[in-house]
Amino acid sequence: MSDRRVESLARVICEYSLRVEPGQLMLIEAPALAEPLVLEIVTRALEMGALPRVRVAAEGTQLAFLSEAAEEQLTTLLPSAMPEMAAIDLRVAIHSAWNTRELSGVDPGRVAAVREAQAPLMELYMRRSAAKELRWCVTAYPCEAFAQDADMSLAAYEDFVYRAGWLHLPDPVAAWRGFAETLGAVADRLSGVRTLRVLAEDTDLTVGVAGRTWVPCNGERNFPDGEVFTGPIETATTGDVRFSFPAIFSGREVEDVRLRFDGGRVVQSEAAAGQELLRQMLAIDEGASILGEFAIGTNYGVQDFSKQILFDEKIGGTCHMAVGAGYPETGSTNRSGLHWDMVCDLRSGGEIHADGELIYRDGRFLPEFAPDLSPPQG
């Protein structure tokens, strides 16, 4: 039986996130198990006059390639990749998996080599996106593997995903439009701040954000969405942070990460499990031990940690930061092969101070600083 919420998700992505226009060439990328969502997006895109093309992955082929490929094969882009990226107007990437540990036996260096070879492709993607020639959206389709990682049944996980997108509401598009307006106001308020101080259990961290741009994430490029982020000043981060949730890198978990910063750089790192991986990643290059992103999760329809960063970094009442590459649009100048998000819960007792003034407590902005970001009740 078809799930109306899948249709609703496709509608929001096409009408709100991508604002599909007639004649636009749309590429949809997904594992084949996301077929129901792919089909709904194709249907909606056709109704809106676009030209949808679908690129699905069959189970097991990525592992087969990564296991057998010689170095040169790993790092060779298909001749169609760049011209295709230059031609498309819209791109949808759907995250879903048969098994989130599928690549656990593959040398991470090989995965990194593939990623590195794709750098020119990503650069073209980002350039066209910045020039507003290409609109894109990353979303997720519920599957058993993600449900298992979230300690949920598939049915419960479906509820979790669709509630995160506010698809249970009668008019999700209107709700997201309203949210976008409010979040824009929050970003405006934050843009006047010079220094942020985050206080939580075992956490007292100061981040310099003066002159940096805050970007409201309102469901256009990620769906579901809900965060506001910037790129901190590279030399200013000081103090301690303890991350409440495991940090996940390519399906591997590092538990109870504690970092100490001085002069912008991680000077001490500890983890209850996976400390070796943590230290290895922080050392991969110069930029890997510097924050590239500081963000506040503002989707109050997401309350559970699920081990999918698309959802976790949006949890209303958390903040997250990424060691490694920053987004140039924020003013960040940090460059790295790494961008690793880690989430810190602020919902019980957490505080954020802006230039010495309390602006956020127990997972909420104070009303005098910013309007309420809760989704409408439905």
Partner: protein
């Protein structure tokens, strides 16, 4: 399907059929439901140093685009489509319908419109294929859908398909080289003939093949394979032909098809089933009214009809003709968005004459 069989089949296709070389960009497309076969092919291609360009398809999406697309959406050839056709050095098409009727709700004229609009791509593809610039092979896998159409259990159908492919032979490539040699002898004979006359039940068809090249289908372009074929001088076909088997094409059933030709062109058609579909296909373009192929099936492992032309056209002892696109490498000049094979059984009483002389009886070359 056993992993060993899939690996063996992938190996034959990559090494014998496509002769994959290091650096080749090899596009593999077919239903995503055949993931284990995609994996076997990916492994083999990667081991051989190629760049796999994997394009699993979703039949539901194909049906949605065809049935919902406006004229403009169906006829626009995008840059993505062009790259898919232009970039690969070699292409492997997987035929494996989980449900052979997945396009049955799509009006035939929508399919015709789609195919017609891609003529520029398909013409160029066939030209590059003919010139040897690119290689292509289509492989038919056993599926529940194909088994159901053939009136067989999946297990029995699987045995049938792998038997027809000779995958379980100790040395499958040696078999196909032997088949190739046997077919070459038949071709030597056919190459001397100008006019072929095919006589069978309700069939008396004359096709002119003077100066055309007969090609040896020995497992390089189709799998399973086993036929010899050419493209006739398409404006000279005359007479009528009656097709022996029911078949399914693009989700439509047809049966009892009869065609009458004058000066190469279909002047009358009949079908006991699928008449509307037949008319739609014939009307696709000008070239769809002419024959693009005449051929003889020579795979003796295939003896029963399955409603699936990928197998039926190979039945040892049959002939088939195709309406539409011809093969430039055979000397064919008929162009069309259509290439639709229809099979005529010669095994009981069928006769083939070459320039007036009997050359085959009951499906066997003399």
């Amino acid at each position: 399907m056993s992993a060993a069989r899939l690996e063996a089949l992938a190996s034959i296709l990559c090494r014998y059929s496509l002769e994959v070389q290091p650096g080749d960009v090899v596009r593999v497309h077919g239903p995503a439901s055949e993931a284990p076969f995609f994996v076997a092919v990916t492994r083999e291609l990667t081991r051989l140093g190629a760049q796999p360009m994997l394009r699993p398809t979703l039949p539901s999406v194909e049906a949605a685009i065809l049935s919902m697309g406006s004229d403009e959406q169906l006829t626009t050839v995008t840059e993505v489509d062009r790259l898919e056709s232009e970039v690969p050095d070699k292409t492997l098409t997987i035929w494996a319908d989980a449900n052979t009727r997945y396009l049955s709700a799509v009006p035939p004229d929508r399919q015709a419109l789609w195919s017609r609009s891609r003529r520029s791509l398909s013409d160029r593809f066939f030209e590059r294929l003919a010139s040897g610039e690119i290689r292509w092979c289509g492989v038919a896998l056993p599926t529940r859908g194909f088994a159901q159409d053939a009136g067989m259990s999946f297990g029995a159908f699987e045995e049938f398909v792998f038997g027809a492919c000779h995958v379980d032979d100790p040395d499958p490539v040696a078999f196909w080289r032997g088949q190739s040699a046997r077919q070459a002898e038949v071709i030597e004979r056919l190459a001397q003939i100008s006019e072929l006359r095919i006589v069978a039940e309700d069939t008396d068809l004359v096709v002119d093949v003077a100066g055309r090249a007969w090609l040896n289908a020995d497992g390089r372009e189709n799998f399973p394979d086993g036929e010899v074929y050419t493209s006739p001088r398409h404006e000279l076909t005359r007479g009528h032909i009656s097709f022996s088997f029911d078949a399914t094409y693009n989700g439509h059933d047809f049966g009892g098809v009869r065609l009458w030709f004058e000066d190469g062109r279909v002047v009358r058609h009949e079908a006991s089933r699928g008449r509307e579909f037949l008319a739609g296909m014939l009307d696709m373009d000008d070239g769809s009214h002419y024959l693009g192929e005449v051929a003889f099936g020579m795979n003796d492992e295939i003896q029963q009809s399955t409603r699936n032309v990928a197998f039926d056209e190979k039945i040892g002892g049959t002939t088939h003709v195709a309406l539409g696109a011809s093969f430039p490498e055979a000397g064919g000049t008929n162009r069309s968005g259509l290439h639709w094979d229809i099979v005529c059984d010669l095994r009981s009483g069928g006769e083939v004459y070459g320039d007036g002389e009997l050359i085959a009886r009951d499906g066997r070359f003399l």
